[in-house]
């Protein structure tokens, strides 16, 4: 509960608060947002859907990218079949149509899924800014528990409303177990 060593860490990435339960965390995250902070993040050992609302997280770009990926894959699949069968190697088998749509559906479908699925996975990783070998939050020793059993909120020093002393007091008032400063 002590933050007597403030100003010790320079430059400062942000102020981190540890919470014991998910309910406390969601409540705190909502208050942090309502207080006007925008550059902050919550860290939880599993996805908490209530946070999407509390932190106003509505990034739907990944769905759009996946849709585009799927459409591109579908066109690629159908295009490949049509090009191979009608242009590259046309075989006249009893006068049957060269572009035989029903027979092209399986490959069209498989490539739709392949491209869509890869876009979803790669899109998620890239939009999340991964792979990222170093991040300041890992400087806090107790942060190792974020992937195990504890809940954290970190308000970043880039936020216009951030001031080390005031933010630490604010986080403490939200019922945080422990406040630590995060070095860059």
């Amino acid at each position: 509960m002590s933050h007597g060593t403030l100003e010790a860490v320079h430059p400062l990435y942000g102020m981190m608060a540890e919470f014991e339960t998910p309910t406390q965390l969601v409540e705190a995250a909502r208050k942090v947002r309502d207080a006007g902070f925008r550059k902050f993040d919550a860290y939880t050992p599993y996805p908490i859907h209530e946070l999407d609302d509390a932190m106003d997280l509505h990034d739907n770009r990944i769905s759009l990218f996946t849709l585009i990926g799927g459409i591109v894959g579908g066109c690629a699949g159908f295009g490949l079949c049509s090009w191979v069968e009608a242009v590259a190697l046309p075989l006249n088998i009893g006068g049957r149509p060269l572009i035989s749509v029903p027979m092209f559906i399986p490959i069209t479908f498989e490539l739709t899924i392949l491209f869509g699925g890869l876009t979803a996975a790669i899109g998620m990783i890239l939009l999340n800014g991964l792979p990222l070998p170093y991040h300041p939050v890992f400087n806090v020793e107790k942060f190792a528990n974020a992937s195990r059993s504890k809940f954290f909120i970190c308000i970043e020093s880039d936020d216009p409303k951030f001031d080390p002393e005031g933010t630490a007091n604010f986080l403490e008032s939200l019922g945080a177990e422990e406040i630590s400063e995060v070095g860059r």
Partner: protein
């Protein structure tokens, strides 16, 4: 409007996860199997046996490369033999993993959380084993890249209307998407291993694999969206894969293969055999690693029920196959059914009926569904039965076709068995490695099942 039906608690046996677990304890228990547990003699022995079996695959593949497919029992008219039987069997086994990880995710079945990682790993390894057979069966495996469309000096392209080419696309897409889905699911757990490990080399390896995952809520939101999208796409994919596999048969004109029931009947059979294999692997693993509190009776009971349900669909498929043969009024179709039931391979047919239709009927009884030992034995019988099903489909249709002058018999050689058991060795070898180096249960999804993980509403504003 109809009221939602409240199911009585008595239909479930026990909880999804035993009481007394906390966020920290599930992480430490599952992560500890990888990080803390000493390598046991039993594990080493199992790995060695699997590795020994794997040598049979290497030896038989080498001999195959030297001599060609003549070392197998295949002939004309039975050109497909063990290679295709094993291909269909392995790929079918894979389907349960995707069903558990994707379809049950979309259906919000939270009991899947404890078994999906393991089942998905099984999928991945089974598809690897499956993919080897068509390539070996081509006779010139070093030219396998001819299956892919690419500009070449021969000016030749694959026939895009052929189910065998569809198979190439379906199976390679399936392997890719399964691997991606599996890896995406692993990222948060790899981060857990990185953060709880005390050894620098472990921290480095798991850290690199976790790619810097930091459990951020902003990341989780996109992560959940991507998982849902992947599940939504893997669901039709898994149905399409075995549909395409069944097209290999159904699009041809061979009696007994040329039926419209093949796609749904193959998909049901795939899920049936897959759940059989999940049970076969999971019952011993749960016992040896003391995971009875995480993979509970509820899981075994549910998996047994899915096995029973898909087994009944398969039984319906068998009945319809016979009926179609009779109702077709086609002399070849009728003869095929008659020959299957009374011909030289009839004992295989009746064994398959015994394994696949009679045996799962025991699963109607709750006391059997919740008895791990009996369930394990039934699951092995189901695996054998589903292998026999593919044997009967492939061999009985091919060995007696339209002209009696071209009839023949098929008997596998030692090399057929060596290749088959070799892939079982490869499969088990990979499973043994997997349970040692990666968390076999999705830890972060397990946390979501705990009462301590629930946000208590209403949150004061």
């Amino acid at each position: 409007m109809a009221q939602p039906v409240e199911l009585p608690d008595t239909i479930h046996v026990g909880p999804v996860i035993d009481e007394g677990h906390s966020l920290a304890s599930v992480s430490d228990k599952v992560g500890g199997i990888v990080l803390k547990r000493k390598t046991t003699l039993g594990w080493a022995f199992g790995l060695l046996v699997a590795f020994g079996l794997l040598q049979a695959l290497l030896a038989s593949a080498t001999w195959l490369f030297i001599k060609g497919v003549g070392i197998w029992g295949i002939n004309i008219p039975v050109g497909w033999g063990f290679a295709i039987i094993n291909f269909v069997w392995w790929i079918g086994i894979g389907h349960a993993g995707t069903l558990i990880s994707a379809i049950l995710l979309l259906l919000n079945q939270s009991w899947r959380n404890a078994i999906n990682r393991f089942a998905e790993a099984m999928t991945l390894f089974a598809v690897m084993c499956a993919g080897m057979f068509p390539v070996l069966h081509t006779g010139r495996p070093w030219l396998a890249y001819w299956l892919m469309p690419y500009p070449n000096t021969m000016d030749l392209w694959p026939q895009m209307r052929s189910p065998l080419v569809w198979d190439v696309f379906a199976v390679s897409t399936y392997l890719t998407i399964s691997a991606v889905f599996w890896f995406v699911g692993l990222i948060p757990d790899l981060a857990t291993l990185r953060d709880t490990s005390k050894k620098p080399w472990q921290q480095k390896i798991y850290g690199m694999l976790a790619m810097g995952w930091r459990s951020s809520a902003r990341h989780w939101q996109r992560y959940e969206k991507a998982s849902l999208l992947l599940a939504g796409m893997a669901t039709p994919l898994v149905v399409s894969v075995h549909t395409v596999v069944s097209f290999d048969f159904a699009v041809s004109m061979i009696p007994g293969w040329h039926t419209t029931i093949f796609p749904p009947y193959f998909v049901a059979g795939a899920i049936y055999s897959g759940f059989g294999m999940v049970l076969t692997l999971m019952i011993p693993v749960r016992k040896f690693y003391g995971l009875e509190d995480i993979i509970t009776m509820r899981h075994l009971n549910n998996m047994a029920k899915v096995t029973l349900a898909t087994g009944m669909i398969v039984a319906y498929g068998y009945i319809m196959e016979a009926f179609f043969g009779y109702f077709s009024a086609d002399v070849y179709e009728k003869f095929m059914v008659w020959n299957r039931m009374t011909g030289p391979y009839a004992p295989f047919y009746y064994t398959l009926i015994l394994c696949n239709i009679i045996t799962p009927q025991f699963l109607w009884k709750k006391s059997i569904r919740t008895n791990p030992l009996i369930l394990w034995i039934i699951s092995i019988v189901v695996n054998i039965g589903m292998w026999l099903e593919r044997f009967v489909i492939v061999v009985t249709s091919l060995h007696r076709d339209f002209l009696p002058s071209s009839w023949g018999m098929y008997s596998p050689t030692i090399w057929d068995f060596a290749t088959f058991f070799g892939t079982i060795g490869l499969f088990l070898f990979l499973i043994f490695l997997f349970v040692r180096v990666l968390p076999m249960i999705t830890i972060f999804e397990l946390r979501m099942l705990l009462p301590a993980a629930q946000v208590k509403e209403p949150v004061a504003r």
